[in-house]
Point group: C2
Chain length 323, copies 2
């Protein structure tokens, strides 16, 4: 066996970027890069770009890759490696796993991107050693992942951990999924931006509006977070409200699963303690004491690489379970 023949490739397909990295069996990321996920050019083009980039990375570190793990958003058939639907890209029934496998000539496992991130955090991130880990990823949407005794829990059709579409408010805000009152409609980056825009239109957020160059429509979740960190009271209020909504989702999942680690990741967590501190306080109010006492609520540790590392780790685990 050549040196480096024991590596794994992780791919994290997102709505705007796709991360690709080479991962050691220890979970260490050797090298990684990002390519843009160009929606208009379709899956074939993406797969050939993934192939090109992956080959370059493997050459770079003289790695021979045993297996490829790939995380994608949206509902999947993990057995057949098919992306059933990718709403942000408008794709349907794309056999992405198989296509990458053919492109690279390496066995490829497909999984949900939020599962991959959760697994990565359990494997080498914020939840090492957890028996029951749940992970909330607060990005454009709200993703979820569950890791029980070192395995991703997927439910009977691979669709478990859809925490973003938990209903926290009867007849509440309209969610992108068409329902009302979903957690995602309150605690995602887009929900934070929407709520901030509403307030800015009402004249409540002059500092934030200035950050956005005076245009309400340009306000982003990052700007709210930045404005809050700079001391703007109204922006701080929005972040605290976000934490209070998120706390309902986190508490509901904790009351259902009694985890020892709850990982909160995704872009929104750029706000750090501004979210985390009130979140912990609200969760404590909402959750059974014994359940709250047994869990640590922690920020994700792997950042944007969680998906790449976790996808590689899931591939490694699957290989082991087949031995």
């Amino acid at each position: 066996m050549k040196p480096g023949s024991n590596y794994y490739l992780g791919i994290d397909v997102g709505g705007s970027n796709t991360g690709i990295g080479v991962v050691r069996p220890s979970g260490e990321l050797v090298v990684s890069t990002k390519i843009s996920t160009d929606v208009r050019r379709g899956p074939k083009q993406l797969v050939s770009m993934i192939g090109e980039t992956a080959r370059r990375l493997m050459d770079e570190c003289c790695a021979e890759v045993r297996l490829v793990g790939m995380g994608t958003p949206g509902p999947l058939d993990t057995h057949k490696g098919i992306v059933l639907e990718m709403p942000n890209l408008g794709w349907k029934n794309v056999p992405l796993g198989q296509m990458v496998q053919e492109e690279l000539g390496i066995t490829t496992y497909l999984d949900n991107d939020a599962n991959a991130a959760a697994f990565g955090e359990w494997w080498v991130g914020a939840g090492v050693g957890a028996r029951v880990l749940v992970c909330f990823t607060l990005g454009t949407g709200v993703g979820g992942g569950i890791v029980i005794d070192g395995s991703v829990f997927r439910g009977v059709k691979g669709a478990a951990a859809e925490f973003g579409h938990m209903i926290i408010q009867l007849n509440g805000r309209v969610c992108k999924c068409g329902k009302r009152g979903c957690l995602e409609a309150y605690a995602s980056a887009s929900a934070i931006a929407s709520r901030a825009r509403e307030r800015a239109e009402a004249g409540d957020l002059p500092a934030l509006l200035e950050l956005a160059g005076g245009e309400v429509s340009r306000i982003t979740s990052e700007m709210v977070s930045q404005s809050a960190l700079e001391g703007d009271r109204f922006a701080q209020k929005i972040m605290e409200e976000t934490a209070s909504y998120l706390a309902i989702g986190v508490s509901n999942v904790m009351n259902a699963l009694n985890p020892d680690v709850v990982v909160i990741g995704g872009g929104v967590m750029g706000a750090g303690d501004m979210i985390l501190e009130p979140l912990r306080r609200f969760v404590r109010e909402l959750t059974f004491e014994a359940i709250d006492d047994s869990a640590r609520i922690v920020p994700a540790k792997l950042g944007r690489e969680a998906g790449v590392i976790g996808a590689a780790g899931i591939a490694m685990m699957r290989e082991e379970s087949l031995r």
Copy 2:
């Protein structure tokens, strides 16, 4: 080995009654009975009555019991067999498992009563063969149970599946636990009765009020159910509302765990299709199609014996896992 030496004893301790039964390894209930759980006389008295009754039952069917399984409400230490808190009985830190074990001279396992009911339904009830089963028990409170691949899922401290205290409404109705907006404050028997009393006071429910002998305070959930079955529109509306609240809880758990079977049991299910039919309809509206398609929502099959049978089954399973 004598004939009948392979039986299990199941005990289901409830706030007002305690069920005791002898169960075959096949899950068949050989004989069972109920004694009243006399709160004022304390745990010692209850344990000695359990002992007396259990010995009589074992004599009756010439059964020699290998193990005892006991289900109780409230938070437990399942390892040590200690009831940490039994709010309805006002007990704290009672080593009930150990006390029954000493009384009967047979190894006794303690578990949560809702877990026992869920396990019973998975073992020989409405969810035989399920890979991921979740169970909602709608009684005075709302209990929950999760069975994954034939094992009760308890989380890290044995406190998982507290579905009754999932929050379905921000700043909603006050729950007995002190929080606001818990599922239990909307879909339990006591919640149904409370909502009906409010309407009756407003003059909306003459038929129901008549059933209660003209006294609002005497209205029970059973009466609402009976009145609805007899065709009273207002009572039917209350049952349908109950189903809509319950649907949020059921959908949230389905989106989190992607189960193949959802069992709904407990006294409230005396209303049968009056709850079940709108529940299925509302859940379909609230849940991801793939997740809804993969699950059957079914009424419990074992009725009041689920706890007794399931407790015996859990004891049997624990013994097997120790072999």
